[in-house]
Symmetry: C2
Subunit: 172 residues, 2 copies
DNA sequence: AAGATAAGTTTCTAGTTGCAACTTAAAACC
DNA sequence: GGTTTTAAGTTGCAACTAGAAACTTATCTT
């Protein structure tokens, strides 16, 4: 199999920079996490995540503008405003949990408490992993890049020769 | 089931802040991604990810100090230094890919090219998801927090009454 | 009507980013 | 063997960003 280096200029167009634009920063992350924990209001975010007032205001507008939170004045108390995760925001959970799990394992050392469990059976969730279409858990050793044009579907078979322009990732 | 709010002061001890300390910042992220793509040397990082010299130097030492990269002078060319992902760094891949996938779906819009595939069958990897111990894919609706002391194992059965101090996450 | 609360804005200081120029050591070239 | 190039940084400095604390405005409670 060819170990040709993929053109990194092209990979720069991947989803990461876009994602980082929006949430690649400490307080945005913490704010979203608080929202996942049911935090809804300005003063609540303020005390729960220990952020400065102006920074919080800034992040909340930013997250709202980028469609991760939805801002809605409360009709029953017109001083209050409700911030709630949109579908886009909720869909960030796997990434969030993957980071949290990584931090638990490597940064803090302490297994965190409380623990996230499957509501149905009260058992802890698995570690977030990368999976092939057949659900096999894949490590960085099992992955490579391939051009969209050269992708085969589950049913097609292009033969055993792998495309020329691929390369393993994180190869050691 | 009780919907008691979990104590957020305790959740502050979760893995996220630790993870963000190290990689919760644009350039650290981009640097790690480049490393996953086989980038090894200072000047290479510099041109590939478009970062300023001093910032790169700063990030590389930071990532090295926190054990994500390993710094090793090259014997065959003693001007050169090699930066390589450690096990800790490599283990960050699921989080990285989860973020990338999120960005692809929500931020850029364009499905990125090249695509990450399972080397064995050349089929694209699945989306990174949260799974229960039985491998069921879980959404934020299926999750709740529970205290470590109250966790039951796969074999124990504490009866059907869920512990009092739990709450659903991201409840809408 | 007075006081408290919610959600911000403003001000000002301290730290961070990023460009460009400089440094130092080793290799390559002639 | 001397000059040039390359690699991996460091330093200096202007512009920007973060953060603490005080201020504002609208609404609600008593």
């Amino acid at each position: 199999m060819g170990k040709l280096r993929e053109p990194l200029s092209e990979i720069a167009q991947c989803g990461l920079p876009g994602a980082l634009e929006v949430i690649g920063e400490r307080w945005s992350f913490m704010t979203i996490r608080a929202a996942f924990n049911g935090v809804r209001h300005f003063e609540e975010f303020l005390t729960e995540i220990g952020i400065a007032r102006n920074i919080l205001a800034n992040r909340l507008t930013r997250l709202t503008e980028s469609g991760i939170l939805q801002r809605k004045p409360c009709p029953e108390d017109r001083r209050k405003v409700e911030y709630r995760l949109t579908e886009k925001g909720l869909d960030f959970l796997p990434a969030m949990i993957a980071m949290r799990q990584w931090g638990e394992k490597w940064a803090t050392g302490t297994p965190s408490n409380p623990v996230l469990v499957d509501e149905r059976d009260s058992l802890p969730i698995k570690r977030v992993t990368i999976r092939g279409h057949d659900d096999r858990v894949l490590s960085h050793m099992d992955l490579c890049w391939i051009y969209a044009a050269e992708i085969r579907t589950k049913d097609s078979d292009l033969g055993d020769d792998l495309p020329g322009r691929v390369r393993k990732i994180g190869s050691n």
